[in-house]
């Protein structure tokens, strides 16, 4: 059964279409890679899925429920959580407090939230930084903080927006491993926006390519690499 | 209420609106270039009012002529204020910018109170209460004069911003500070310049209304609020919008005063302000939303 169905989603800003008629499905437990040149509408699609913008047309169906018009907080409570392309740590709160804010989505008890948070901080291997202020952490650790924070909301579907952007190869590897670990637990489905093609090919089960707001192609990583249209889109706009 | 009373109030609203426009334009230039909301704007205007008052009482300079002295002095005043205080908090939390300008406003108004006491001062000229009739409608002479001067100044400012290199540099800075910097525009200088221009506009507005308004140290805060209403209505950062906003608020006040009551006219103005914030926060002419 599909956990997420995107049906003919379009988003217009004024007269400009940031997304037009995008459709695809995700099945439970998979990792979907979402790629495309800059300005292809990847983040806009994330925002439409997670309730930051209502889609102008089309439907987003998550876990059998129509998500159109729901607010981001409701979306999160229903089990869909996202990270941000530009990291958004709660700067003047500690790492632990940041992750606890995520966990408090599922409990009213600070004690339980703290336990849940520590568990997720262990998953991203940052126990040693637990009482550090989030604003003072280096970029790689802030990205991991965001992952721990969304994991603490106990999502069924995780949307990671360029979680490896700006990281060095070692840090990227660590995050790739983290994404694969989450997958191997089998509980969380993931959609990953990424610029690093090698990384996306390594982790994704399927890949959707967006170009100028439209879906250009969808298929296994192997199919995408060999798709001539995708090659043209990338060569045409980025090289 | 007769038709002529309504026409009368529309005309005086229009005339006052011209001065409001000047206050609004000053605030909007400052906001456009620096993204700082100047809570001391009305107090800067108050300084202009006192300057005019003393030029008149001590040296006998006509209030409308004194604009020629007030404007450059207030320009320098604003430029120094920018350089010494505002410049240090550009790019920090908007809350801090607001509080800093509130603090500067408090210093100005209370320093004025220490120096000149809180007594109301009235600048009485030979023409303060003179008016003439056109088709049964009486038009106040000082209001008309100040309106005409406002038109000249606003037109001059448009010309400066549109046609001169410096004006274009200011507009470029307002549009995109970083890009302007990359283009080799000295944005720091543009900030000082625009705060100076903004202050000069506020000070001039003060000078222009001083023959028809009470002068006292706390006069500014009411005008600060009015200036916000005007600029938000027109769209923060839009000069055309602020001009339009000023005229609209002048009209609304004046018409509300005769149709509802003069006690409630400010309530009407603030209600419109809230409505604009809720329905179209970008204002009539604004594009960007913070």
């Amino acid at each position: 059964m599909a956990i997420l169905e995107i049906k003919h989603v379009s988003k217009f800003f004024g007269g400009l279409a940031a997304n037009s008629d995008v459709s695809f499905e995700m099945s439970e437990g998979m990792i979907m890679g979402l790629i495309g040149p800059n300005g292809a509408g990847k983040t806009t699609l994330f925002n439409c899925i997670t309730g930051y913008y209502p889609p102008s047309k089309g439907e987003v169906i998550f876990d059998g429920k129509k998500m159109n018009g729901l607010q981001p907080d409701t979306v999160c409570k229903l089990g869909m959580a996202r990270t941000w392309q530009k990291v958004r740590p709660l700067a003047k709160m500690t790492l632990l407090d940041n992750v606890m804010v995520g966990a408090l989505c599922r409990t009213n008890s600070l004690r339980i939230a703290r336990e849940m948070a520590i568990e997720q901080i262990k998953v991203v291997r940052m126990e040693h930084k637990i009482n550090f202020l989030a604003g003072g952490l280096p970029i790689g650790e802030r990205k991991k903080l965001e992952v721990a924070r969304v994991l603490a909301t106990q999502p069924k579907l995780l949307l990671l927006d360029e979680v490896m952007g700006g990281l060095n190869p070692a840090e990227s590897d660590e995050l790739i491993q983290l994404i694969l670990d989450i997958k191997s637990q089998g509980k969380i489905t993931q959609m990953v926006i990424e610029h690093d093609m090698k990384a996306i090919m390594r982790i994704s089960d399927r890949v959707v390519v967006l170009n100028s707001g439209e879906k250009l192609a969808e298929g296994s990583p192997q199919e995408i690499v060999n798709n001539p249209e995708v090659i043209t889109a990338y060569l045409g706009s980025e090289h | 209420m007769t038709f002529s009373v309504l026409v009368q109030s529309i005309i005086s609203g229009l005339l006052v609106g011209g001065v409001y426009a000047l206050i609004g334009v000053g605030l909007t230039i400052i906001f456009g270039v620096m993204r700082v909301i100047n809570f001391a704007h009305g107090d800067i205007m108050m300084v202009g009012m006192y300057m005019t008052y003393f030029l008149f009482t001590l040296f006998g300079v006509d209030p409308f002529m004194s604009v020629l002295i007030t404007m450059p002095l207030m320009f320098v005043f604003g430029a120094i204020m920018q350089k010494v205080f505002i410049n240090r908090i550009l790019g920090t939390l908007p809350q801090n910018q607001i509080l800093l300008t509130i603090g500067l406003g408090l210093i100005m108004s209370n320093a004025a109170m220490l120096a000149f006491t809180s007594d109301y001062k009235i600048l009485t000229t030979s023409y303060s209460s003179s008016s003439f009739n056109v088709a049964g409608i009486s038009i106040s002479q000082p209001l008309l004069t100040s309106f005409l001067i406002t038109c000249v100044i606003t037109a001059g400012l448009y010309w400066f911003l549109m046609k001169t290199d410096t004006g274009q540099a200011i507009r470029a800075t307002a549009q995109d500070r970083e890009a302007a910097q990359l283009m080799g525009i000295n944005v720091k200088w543009m900030s000082i310049l625009s705060f100076g221009i903004g202050s000069a506009m506020a000070g001039t507005a003060g000078a222009l209304i001083s023959p028809t308004y009470y002068i006292f140290p706390q006069v500014g805060s009411a005008f600060t609020l009015k200036a916000f209403v005007i600029t938000v209505l027109g769209g923060m950062g839009s000069i055309v919008g602020a001009t339009l906003g000023g005229i609209i608020i002048g009209l609304v006040e004046s018409v509300a005063a005769v149709t509802i009551s003069s006690d409630w006219k400010d309530v009407v103005v603030f209600s419109i302000f809230l409505l604009v914030l809720l329905i179209k926060p970008s204002g009539l002419m604004g594009k960007s939303r913070m």
Binding site: T50, Y52, Q71, D73, C76, K77, A81, W84, R88, P89, L90, A91, K92, M93, D97, M100, V101, L104, C105, N108, L110, A113, N131, L133, G136, V150 | I37, R88, I89, T92, P94, Q95, N96, I98, L99, L100, I102, G103, L104, G105, L106, I107, N110, M113, L114, S118, L225, F228, V232, D263, D266, V267, F270, S271, F273, L274, L277, L278, P281, M290
Partner: protein, 359 residues
């Protein structure tokens, strides 16, 4: 980076801190037994009142990051409700204040529904506009509020439980205890907020509204909760002020200046901390009182720095009393430019530097 100072931590206090706290509170309760001077008691009452006002604002402004510059609206609502009910219906203040709180909460929800859709400077402007509407309404609804004339009450009815008169409010002492309890209650409430889900959610909203929203935080509900708590206690401060001073008018309990002063208490002390408003009150209350009562002018004259008969001396004596708002202004500018985290944050940073660590 060093781990934060435990005094300001979010977790439990140490035994030493608890002991110090208990001793301070006990001393404050015993204080009127030893100090009888009405003037000193008056100062202490103002200090407690200021703490109450500052801490109330701190919940919405400091913790939740919503800079309301319109809190005079709630202060005035509390003050007016209490005194109108007392003077026209002879309803005792300790009932009136609850109605004041109810009225302020309704007002807060109306203001919240309008202003919380706006962010940053727009929120500030909207909060000012609403407070101005409230002030102008109080000024013009003369049939209810007596307008600019204000409301004066001569006697506060004695506070009785059953037939026993607890106090007849003939001295400053009962006011002292009421103000002390109110200040302790608001500090306790702030502590509870900080140590509950509320505090986490409020601070998350302050740090980043979009991120908070994506983590399952309903912004409307939580921002309004913060405003309601804040408004309720600000209203209580207004009610207390009204029965303490026995006179209110729109220019003392509803002006924009008051809203600004409420904000300053926290800003100067340090926002988003439990002790910030206390420190802010410790700075502001003595300072403005010293200016108001001309202590500074007299001090300058007595010390021989300024001659009493000189122009400056006469000027200072006559005018410095009115300068307390000027000093507020200077303080704000200094604090924003040099101690953006308030006095408390500044000293914390200084101590951290001296210890060689990085704050």
């Amino acid at each position: 980076m060093k781990p934060f100072n435990p005094l300001f931590s979010q977790r439990g206090a140490s035994a030493v801190q608890v002991t110090v706290g208990i001793v301070v509170i006990a001393a404050l309760f015993a204080f009127p037994q030893f100090v009888k001077s009405p003037y000193v008691l008056h100062m202490m009452i103002l200090f407690f009142l200021s703490t109450l006002m500052g801490q109330s604002w701190n919940i919405i402004g400091g913790y939740t990051g919503q800079y309301s510059v319109g809190h005079a609206a709630y202060f005035g609502t509390g003050a007016y409700t209490t005194l109108i009910l007392l003077s026209t219906k002879e309803i005792a203040p300790w009932y009136g204040m609850w109605l004041g709180i109810a009225a302020s909460i309704i007002l807060a929800l109306i203001i919240g529904s309008i202003c919380f859709r706006l962010r940053g400077p727009y929120f500030v402007l909207a909060s000012i506009a609403v407070a101005e509407i409230v002030r102008l309404t109080a000024l013009n609804l003369t049939s209810i509020t007596k307008g600019a004339e204000g409301i004066l009450v001569i006697d506060i009815p004695a506070f009785k439980i059953g037939e026993t008169v607890i106090t007849d409010f003939s001295s400053k002492v009962p006011y002292y205890y009421i103000a002390l309890v109110l200040a302790l209650v608001i500090i306790g409430v702030t502590w509870l907020v900080q140590h509950s889900k509320l505090g986490y959610y409020f601070q998350a909203i302050r740090e980043d509204q979009d991120a908070a929203h994506s983590l399952g935080i309903n912004l409307t509900i939580w921002k309004n909760s913060a405003l309601v708590i804040s408004a309720a206690f600000t209203s209580l401060a207004g009610s207390f002020y009204a029965i303490f001073v026995k006179f209110i008018d729109p220019s003392t309990v509803l002006p924009l200046d008051l809203s600004v002063q409420i904000v300053l208490i926290s800003i100067i002390g340090g926002i988003g901390t439990i002790f910030g408003p206390v420190v802010g009150s410790l700075v502001l209350v003595p300072l403005s009182e010293a200016l108001r009562s001309n202590v500074i002018a007299e001090g300058l004259i007595n010390s021989g720095l300024v001659s009493e008969t000189s122009g400056i001396g006469i000027f200072l004596k006559e005018h410095l009393a009115h300068a307390h708002v000027l000093i507020y202004g200077i303080l704000v500018v200094v604090v924003i430019l040099f101690m953006p985290e308030g006095v408390l944050g500044y000293f914390r940073k200084m101590t951290a530097k001296r210890k060689g660590g990085k704050a």
